[in-house]
């Protein structure tokens, strides 16, 4: 099989990095872009910790040596290079547009966690429901307050509100490489304004969360 790591603006610069199972990593020309792949005897790759890490490492090395990289999801592959090219051809315009969007940018992840112990206690069922609703509105308002200044510094953003009751914000921001420091300063300012929350900023990552058309804009 031909295993896919990422889609890269042509001509792709392929760094000296080994792929899954220590395979050689190479660029394969496809309509409108280069696809970075490795070839394997097996019909699919095994989902394992070393394989996931190897995938991530190849994508990271590519992001360091190319201006525009769209990461592929782990586990994607095709029987042969012709199958891969046909699949790329189907989505060529969408993929090249996405490459243009992420060009020169990195992704930063932000998670904000509320303190524990905000369980709702109420005398009646109705009062309980009202209190829960109020709590939910408050969480949404707070999430927006955290998100807005960060989204303002980003070219695009995507977020999930209240994935779990305490996880107020789980978001990804597409930020130009040269503006990472400024973005982190905004995160620190937001943290200082909300000392009761734990805010974690991770990255810079390759633009995994902005690799498809569904990713929302800032």
């Amino acid at each position: 099989m031909v295993y896919v790591y990422a889609f890269v603006e042509r001509p792709a610069s392929v760094p000296d990095v080994r792929g899954i199972g220590d395979a050689r990593v190479e660029a394969e020309a496809a309509p409108g872009l280069d696809v970075v792949i490795s070839r394997h005897e097996a019909p699919s790759v095994e989902a394992s910790e070393p394989a996931v890490i190897a995938h991530a490492r190849v994508v990271e090395a590519l992001a360091a040596s190319n201006e525009a990289v769209l990461p592929a999801r782990f586990g994607g592959g095709h029987a042969d290079a012709d199958g891969l090219r046909a699949a790329v051809a189907e989505r060529a315009s969408e993929l090249t547009a996405a490459l243009a969007r992420v060009r020169g940018c990195v992704e930063l992840g932000v998670r904000a966690l509320a303190p524990a112990g905000q369980e709702v206690a109420a005398a009646s069922g109705g009062a309980y429901m009202r209190a829960r609703l109020e709590q939910r509105r408050e969480a949404e308002r707070l999430a927006e307050e955290l998100h807005a200044p960060l989204a303002e510094r980003a070219r695009e953003a995507t977020r999930t509100v209240g994935a779990t009751p305490r996880l107020l914000l789980s978001a990804a921001y597409l930020v130009p490489k040269g503006e990472v420091t400024e973005f982190r300063e905004v995160v620190e300012r937001v943290q200082a304004e909300h000392a009761e929350l734990a805010i974690v900023c991770t990255g810079p990552w390759p633009a995994y969360s902005f690799a498809t058309a569904e990713a929302g804009s800032a």
């Binding site: 099989m1 896919v4 889609f7 019909p43 699919s44 989902a47 394992s48 910790e49 996931v52 995938h55 991530a56 994508v59 769209l70 990461p71 592929a72 999801r73 782990f74 586990g75 994607g76 592959g77 095709h78 199958g83 891969l84 046909a86 699949a87 790329v88 189907e90 989505r91 993929l95 996405a98 992840g109 998670r111 966690l113 303190p115 524990a116 305490r166 995160v187 620190e188 943290q191 000392a195 929350l197 734990a198 805010i199 974690v200 900023c201 991770t202 990255g203 990552w205 995994y208 969360s209 690799a211 498809t212």
Partner: protein, 64 residues
């Protein structure tokens, strides 16, 4: 400064890495995709589900 301890930061970083590699990124038609069971196995293998629970607790108890 950030409110999370370095250990919690590291766990969050691992969790975010795995989330990205397994759940984000481009999927093409005809891709040999992983089953949900396969993906779950990776998570269990990485102890990420457990670690993420631990991370939440650590974040909460870490000093400012």
């Amino acid at each position: 400064m950030n409110g999370a301890s370095p250990a919690a930061q590291q766990e969050v970083t691992l969790l975010e890495l795995v989330d990205r590699v397994l759940n984000k990124g481009v999927v093409l038609t005809g891709d040999v995709t992983l089953s949900v069971a396969d993906v779950d196995l990776v998570y269990v293998g990485l102890r990420v589900l457990l670690a993420s629970v631990g991370t939440l607790e650590q974040l909460e108890s870490s000093p400012q």
